[in-house]
Amino acid sequence: MASVGLNEFKSVISDFKKLNSLALKGAIVAPLIDLWLQVGPMPSKPAAVLSSLVEFIVVIWVFQFLYQADERKLKLGMNAALILFSAAMFMSLILLWTFSIAPNQSRQRVVEGYSLREDVRPLINDSYTAEEALRESAYDASKVWTKSSIVIVTLLISVTWIAAFASFAFYLTVFIVLQRRRSKLRPSRH
């Protein structure tokens, strides 16, 4: 059973002609585009590489363990993955817009925290916001917010971002598995 799944995986990965096979490879490589775009979570290099790696693991996992699973279960999994992808992507973008700021045109974003430092808190009021304090601290978030709150926000953004890509990889792989199964069941024309 395992060898069937892995053989199928090898066959999909080594195929450079079929559209679904190319789409799967594209999906695995997609997070690496963020190395240039820098729209994803920070630090962008580890987040991009980790997202790509997690997607690759998900693809292998699906081929290894779900290739011969019940079709009804696979369809259910596909739907769940689609919902998870939408939710994680939405959450990730909301977190990025709320807790990060791009100080210049270099696309490098700074992640903010949610808890102000003791020595900054008395300075913050309606006329002097935390974002203004960030602008006045050479955009060093650790001078405005506590380190732990910055780490938690960074982790949340990264986890939701990676979860979005992982669920997308799951969705796409299950779709390919179902397509391949059907094409094998269909009688050959030749």
Binding site: A2, L6, K10, I13, S14, K25, I28, P43, K45, P46, V49, S52, L53, F56, I60, Q64, P103, N104, S106, Q108, V110, E118, D119, V120, P122, L123, A133, L134, R135, E136, S137, A138, Y139, D140, A141, S142, K143, V144
Partner: protein, 299 residues
């Protein structure tokens, strides 16, 4: 079973192999991106201090090495309040706050290259600076006196070892050993300062100089030239003002190099001479790369 599957995958699947290779190749850049720290001091400063020390060392050549180093360190601690002899400890009683900095200055700013006396001289200057600050801030407290004696003896031992005949056989080993012992004594002093602050309920003001993100390349000029410009982030300045820290206790970052990487709002001080209306302070926002020229205000 599972291992053999992975082995087969890795060997027979070129895509998997290239992905793993990509990940392994990316590791150094990931590590650099995550853990890299910006350089604190400009290179030109090293040259400045080398030439100065060379002149001083020449005039002190007849003295013992230990005495010469002590004399150099005292001169630096008193003369150079910007880098080597910068303020290391300050207490602001009205605001119940204090600040201290026991971090070593890179030895390349003290003596050139791998000079074995670089480390002890740097530690001596640090010790003299902190003694000076303790004497002026907390002269009647005793928490620091035994600690500074311990640091002094660690440095003296270090100089003795460098002077010994066995040093030339294992120079790296002795230098590392020296550094470890000296820094261990500075850590003891660190703990004593924190205990003193805790007993007296003092709040620490942390001064950070690290650059946060890539900023803009800014060329800083003064007209007339060769006037010292000091900056700090505007937030740091506002913190000082809120805590009523006296202006002479402010910790400034000195712009030694004309080229700097800056972004956001800064508070500056330009040391104009008296005939140009004396020192001037103000705020400046950096929003794009370019030249930042300071000119004295006219009467």
């Amino acid at each position: 079973m599972h291992i053999s599957i992975w082995m087969r995958l890795a060997i027979h699947n070129r895509f998997l192999a290239s992905c793993l290779l990509l990940f392994v190749v990316s590791l150094p850049s990931i590590h650099n991106a995550t853990f890299s720290n910006s350089q604190k001091f400009p290179k030109s400063t090293a040259l400045l201090y080398d030439s100065r020390h060379a002149q001083k060392a020449f005039s002190l050549e007849n003295q013992s090495v230990q005495n010469a180093l002590v004399q150099l360190s005292r001169t630096d601690a008193m003369d150079d309040r910007n880098l080597l002899g910068r303020t290391r400890f300050a207490v602001n009683k009205p605001s119940h706050s204090y600040s201290y900095d026991l971090d070593p200055t890179p030895t390349r700013y003290v003596l050139s290259g791998d000079d074995p006396y670089g480390k002890p001289l740097e530690a001596l200057i640090r010790l003299e600076s902190i003694r000076r600050d303790f004497e002026s801030s907390v002269p009647n407290e005793n928490f620091w006196r035994p600690r500074t004696v311990d640091i002094q003896s660690a440095i003296d031992n270090c100089i003795d070892r460098i002077d010994s005949s066995e040093f030339k056989f294992k120079p790296k080993y002795f230098q590392d050993e020296c550094s470890k012992k000296i820094e261990a004594e500075f850590q003891n002093l660190d703990r004593s300062i924190q205990r003193y602050a805790s007993v007296n309920k003092l709040k620490r003001i942390i001064v950070e100089t690290r650059d946060a993100i890539a900023g803009y390349r800014i060329v800083v000029k003064t007209d007339p030239p060769k006037i010292q410009v000091h900056i700090m982030t505007l937030l740091q300045y506002k913190k000082y003002q809120y805590l009523n820290v006296p202006a002479d206790k402010y910790q400034w970052n000195d712009l030694f190099d004309p080229e700097n990487v800056m972004i956001g709002w800064y508070h500056y001080r330009v040391d104009w001479p008296k005939n140009l209306n004396g020192p001037e302070e103000g705020n400046v926002e950096i929003t794009k790369p370019g030249v930042l020229t300071f000119t004295p205000k006219s009467n």
